[in-house]
Symmetry: C2
């Protein structure tokens, strides 16, 4: 097989293409509806922050195989040449309904519904699931950290720890969307317009024979934006040296911005450093902390009132360390007008196109969601339909809000979500009910499929026929 660098449309499992050929050759090409959703909540969590919609829509809108993709597929020996000609002309022409980027969503609820000719809807599965899964997983983790930080600044320092460069970009973007204040990641800063932040590394301090000289050199280069890392040798001594340099800066008309702690007992050290800074007239110098922080350690630090003004989170946050995967799936729910579902053990799907209604209180706080069949009448009371059309005939039909707007929207929506669903430990489950119509459809479809597939091994056994 030849080696090529394929187009983004070829980011797919092989079976997407083999199934496509079998569908095409058997004429199984009617319209299908697929639903992308998260089967369950992550352990100890009660909501997801849906993200990745924009990437998904752009993928669908641009979907097109290149000649080099087809040549590679040809080299596998699996594909028919007429089918490969068909692939070369294939575009996504379907309709997409989706929740908004940044929406707070719950397990089982469709976040994206794709309706298109079967093959067009099937092939993008691998990309859509990867992208929505990674974005949502990392956004959900970051939202917990923002919640735990109670208004202190939080910065993305994860660029070296994420699983590859894409993930670093995703984490920087979605963490900013859910409330982080900036990122250390220059690539993400450049691409998305996120404020970039930074301090210094231990290697910088080590390159100078004297720690104080290292601080002086940095302060000379960045008199208005210096954060000095004080733990290379000894945190308290480092802080004293930082104070000395802060005095020199002040004499020259500048103020030291912050010091950073990166090891040891951050609660105790931050209190000692705060006291040293205050006693020496540097009450305005901020204290930043880093070092494998997550929502749990931040909660602990704030519980004991550690005087930390900002947290740099990387290692654990950037991989969602306590929940690094989510069971997101993309399942066909209707084919050629008939509702379909799988009955697999513990993996049953809910048939048919759907709407999710979010019931809101008088102050617009989410009370509960109801999953309904798409055609049902809208509830009489105040309930927001969460899925709206975002693509028609393969073209995006809405203005996708920019990152700044998404950030404001998320802050407003997250503030409305009751605290009991946001608790870091044992949050309450948010109620997601199923409408009577949808329950009926589910029962009817399951019964029909069980009849057809044979209720037990005793029925219509081919080998005993």
């Amino acid at each position: 097989m030849q080696r090529v660098d394929p187009s983004p449309s070829l980011f797919a499992d092989l079976y997407q293409l083999t199934m496509a050929q079998a569908l095409w050759q058997s004429g199984t090409t009617a319209k299908a509806t697929f639903s992308l959703y998260f089967r369950e909540h992550l352990p100890g969590r009660a909501f997801y922050v849906f993200a990745g919609l924009h990437e998904a829509l752009e993928h669908l809108q641009r979907f097109s195989f290149e000649t080099r993709d087809i040549e590679y597929l040809g080299s596998t020996g699996l594909f028919d040449s007429e089918f490969m000609d068909y692939l070369l002309s294939l575009r996504f022409t379907g309709r997409v309904r989706a929740m908004p980027e940044g929406a707070i969503v719950f397990a089982g609820e469709p976040v994206i519904e794709v309706s298109a000719p079967m093959i067009e809807a099937q092939i993008p599965e691998t990309f859509l699931v990867n992208s929505v899964n990674a974005n949502t997983l990392l956004a959900s983790k970051a939202a917990r950290i923002v919640h735990a930080a109670h208004g202190r600044n939080v910065y993305d320092f994860a660029a070296r720890r994420t699983h590859g460069l894409d993930a670093a970009d995703i984490f920087a973007r979605v963490s900013y969307m859910v409330g982080f204040d900036g990122t250390s990641n220059l690539t993400a800063g450049a691409r998305h317009g996120i404020p970039v932040v930074g301090t210094m590394a231990h290697s910088f301090v080590s390159a100078f024979e004297d720690e104080t000289d290292a601080y002086r050199a940095y302060a000379r280069s960045f008199p208005a934006a210096s954060t000095l890392l004080v733990d290379t040798y000894d945190t308290l001594n480092g802080t004293l040296r930082a104070i000395q340099v802060a005095r020199e800066m002040r004499a020259a008309g500048h103020e030291l911005n912050a010091i950073r702690l990166d090891s040891g007992n951050l609660a105790e050290l931050s209190m000692e450093c705060r006291a040293l800074l205050n006693r020496n007239g540097f009450g305005g110098v901020r204290i930043l902390a880093s070092g494998a922080l997550d929502e749990y350690s931040i909660e602990e630090l704030l519980r004991v009132c550690a005087p930390i003004d900002g947290f740099g989170v990387g290692t654990k946050a950037g991989v969602s360390h306590d929940a690094p995967w989510a069971d997101s799936v993309y399942k066909v729910v209707a084919y050629d007008g008939r509702p379909v579902m799988k009955l697999s053990d513990r993996k049953e799907t809910m048939p048919g196109s759907k709407q999710v209604y979010r019931y809101l209180s008088r102050s617009y706080r989410p009370l509960r969601d109801v999953m309904a069949a798409a055609g049902e009448a809208r509830p009489a009371v105040c309930a927001r339909p969460m899925l709206t059309e975002v693509m028609r005939n393969g073209e995006i039909t809405v203005d996708l809000p920019d990152l700044g707007e998404l950030k404001s929207r998320f802050a407003a929506e997250f503030a409305k979500l009751d605290m009991r669903y946001k608790k870091l430990h044992n949050p309450d489950a948010y109620e997601v009910a199923i409408s009577d119509d949808l329950s009926g459809l589910h029962a009817g479809t399951a019964a029909r499929l069980r009849r057809r597939s044979g209720a037990s091994i005793g029925e219509s056994l081919p080998e005993r026929a």
Copy 2:
């Protein structure tokens, strides 16, 4: 700040560039040596599989900022224009010594040592750590799965679950290197020449009113390469229908390749399906299993002799679910000819350029490693020096083996590693000793730095001076 899509060289934390400016402006530009290593083993594990070297070397060889990168940096308002001119001409001109790609390595051992003018060595840190960390983490996970599968086929099905598309590519490549038999990921197959494999999805079955018709359609399109997914409705009934189609295929001169189980009790179902297949004359039809498998569940399945011929692993493997992050670091160990180290609480570094000697038994089995100072005499007994020069004056000096060669090498090396280090639970710790010379250097450097930085808060306190 403007938005641009920057060059790969700008994948860096902001502080790499601010430190560079302070180093440049203060004339702190002598040669430095940095060491990339893993601080500790992952929980319950005794070795790493080092991967990502080739990507790292290619990054260094191509390192160069583009005008759009510099314009973006300029837009942050942090950088001096003379310094930005310098950045535009900056290339990596240093020397790199490294362990081979695919080497089995242990915590604390340098896997890459970079010696270059300070700024050139510092800026690539973020990229090098991200890349080596992600590659090594995923390779190490995949090697455990290969070990657990005891010669059964293992396939990468992780494309939809990794954190972004890069990670899917990395997992496909490194899992193949350590012994997987193929990947479902077409992009990775196309780029790296990895065999691509695939079955079918539940959606394919659902698109047909009758499960048997779905199997027939697939078998007609792929008479020589059909794997039928049997659990959409009921696994045993699905298997009977697959047998019926296998009979039809045989009548037409073809053989069904395999069935796939994706839910339920895989041990029991595989035995029942195996019996059904055998009883009907299809002893040659293989059974594949998938569904959140990892080394632990594979070990359990094989312990009870589940007749599974191949495992498709995705969700948990592709994110290294039980150890999604590793503490890899890139630390300066020498600057301008003097050894340096940090003394931070629990994050001490080992100073100076190093060599790692791997002592081998008469049958070339690794016995123990010794970390030595780079200049020490080579041991008299059979000990392989693990770090060799791979780049000089910024140019790669060795032929980087292709993936097929890496795969064979890894298989040979992994077979030599004693079973007690490979156990999935409570493996023995492999001995990594420190040479006397290196111990002496460490003690001397620590003492010198402690004296300089002040042994305690009571000494040379600036505010009490």
